[in-house]
Symmetry: C2
Subunit: 287 residues, 2 copies
């Protein structure tokens, strides 16, 4: 088997280096969310995933029962080691665990050219809690994400709970979604994606993208499944993968939406609780 993966190459007969995306995230031992979900999504998008682990969680389909944060210096050292040798086409953040880790990550991004206006676009998913409501961030740390990471973000992707925690706004319709997007934009990111708009009377799953001037509605089929673990991570990771390939922001977000729609459509049961969104649909034989 000698599949030629990409054209070009540099005088060698094997495949050339693929685009590279980084995730700075926690692990989910159940393999549904966090690092594992980001890496599967990067892989499925044809992008090599590199990463910095921020925390190891003890987790299954029922919830999170333990968290071991990684020392901030070790988190930053992972970013430095990868960025200085392999390079980073685009990066995203997931669970950041503590304000100390957020400070170390923000400094590492800056010295490695990761962030808006720098060499590598940056997607900030301000993860505050697991889908079961287990805290994934110490109480003061959401402030640190807002103050240290939103101003250097190419895109922020809060869900409605995170929007409420960050802005005090409860999104219930298009009007409140726009108000929330403007409030989030004031924190300094280049663009804001308010996820899961739940617009009144909308049978679809519509997200709202705002770049400071234009609102873009991103509708998608709403799919009825109880198994949605990793859905938010998949959206952010697929968007980041598209940015690593050099796509423009709005195209990258559309690619992210297409990915997560396929993932939710192929979600599967696992364990006694909430199963993961699916990734096997990208394999040549569907898994």
């Amino acid at each position: 088997m000698t599949t030629e993966l990409r054209g070009g190459g540099s005088g060698t007969s094997g495949p050339a280096a693929p685009p590279v995306a980084m995730t700075v995230a926690g692990t989910d031992s159940g393999g549904s969310a966090g690092l594992a979900c980001d890496l599967k999504t990067f892989h499925n998008c044809g992008v090599h995933g590199v990463f910095a682990v921020t925390a190891v969680t003890v987790q299954n389909s029922l919830g999170v029962s333990g968290v071991h944060p990684i020392p901030p210096d070790t988190v930053a050292a992972q970013i430095d080691a990868v960025a200085s040798d392999i390079g980073v086409g685009a990066a995203k953040t997931g669970m950041l665990a503590s304000a100390e880790i957020i400070r170390a990550v923000a400094a590492a991004f800056q010295r490695n050219g990761i962030g808006r206006g720098l060499a590598s676009p940056l997607v900030i998913d301000p993860v505050a809690a697991s889908m079961h409501g287990d805290p994934l961030l110490r109480e003061d740390a959401l402030d640190a994400i807002r103050d240290l990471l939103f101003p250097v973000a190419t895109l922020v992707t809060p869900n409605l709970d995170e929007v409420r925690l960050l802005t005090g706004i409860t999104v219930s319709d298009r009007r409140s979604a726009e108000r929330a997007a403007r409030a989030l934009y004031e924190f300094g990111p280049e663009s804001v994606l308010v996820k899961g708009g739940h617009l009144a009377n909308d049978p679809r799953s519509t997200d709202l993208l705002f770049d400071g001037e234009t609102f873009t509605e991103l509708p998608a089929e709403r799919i009825d499944t109880p198994h949605t673990h990793g859905g938010g991570d998949s959206l952010g990771a697929a968007t980041t993968a598209a940015l690593a390939k050099g796509e423009a922001l709005v195209d990258a977000v559309r690619a992210g939406k297409r990915y997560v729609t396929c993932a939710v459509a192929t979600a599967y049961p696992l364990g006694a609780g909430v199963g993961p969104v699916g990734h096997f649909w990208r394999l040549s034989d569907g898994g």
Copy 2:
């Protein structure tokens, strides 16, 4: 997109739960080896990967510059959380970091029915050092793997350096490979795979499988590439995935060999040092 991934299901319209494989391993921030490699391989084999992180390494294509071991209790708790809820079809180990972690892992395997003669087959890859020679195991810990994990292993998969450390035998031909396999078998595993036999005058990459009675030669095309990071992990993970699907041991090892041959054939450059074996060949459009 509503691809039906597997037949059956249980009265629901979505895909049924896939087979599940576990890896107990360290992370490589470069995304080439360890946890990331195991998870990409499981995914490519149509198996959901769950895991316990044993250590976070700071690593790129040039080597390992830092290791943060996870507390043994947290390693064991990850195994317990996943096995008790999601279940484990088969398991493998990679980097285990220290004797304390090995003791905790051995006890967790036993109480969760993972090991030879128990519900879930177990593949032990006695990882002692990175491919750059950086130690991934404290000095006394290889003894702990031999004493605590070999006797409960369905299969052990040492490379030639690990064979020499474990048995004192330097494999140089079929005769010494057989002698090493017999010596390793005496430590108690159900089967032994001596990897990369380098048999005299053999232009192929031949591994030798021994079950205490029969020697089975597993030849494969030898592929000339400098980018082999994650090759050993891919072989072990693909073998474990096949065991999780219920395949017999010799068939599972053959599946592992087929996987790693495709992976080495599609290896790619990454960073200034050793690039990874490839996994994109399993995607529907080749990545």
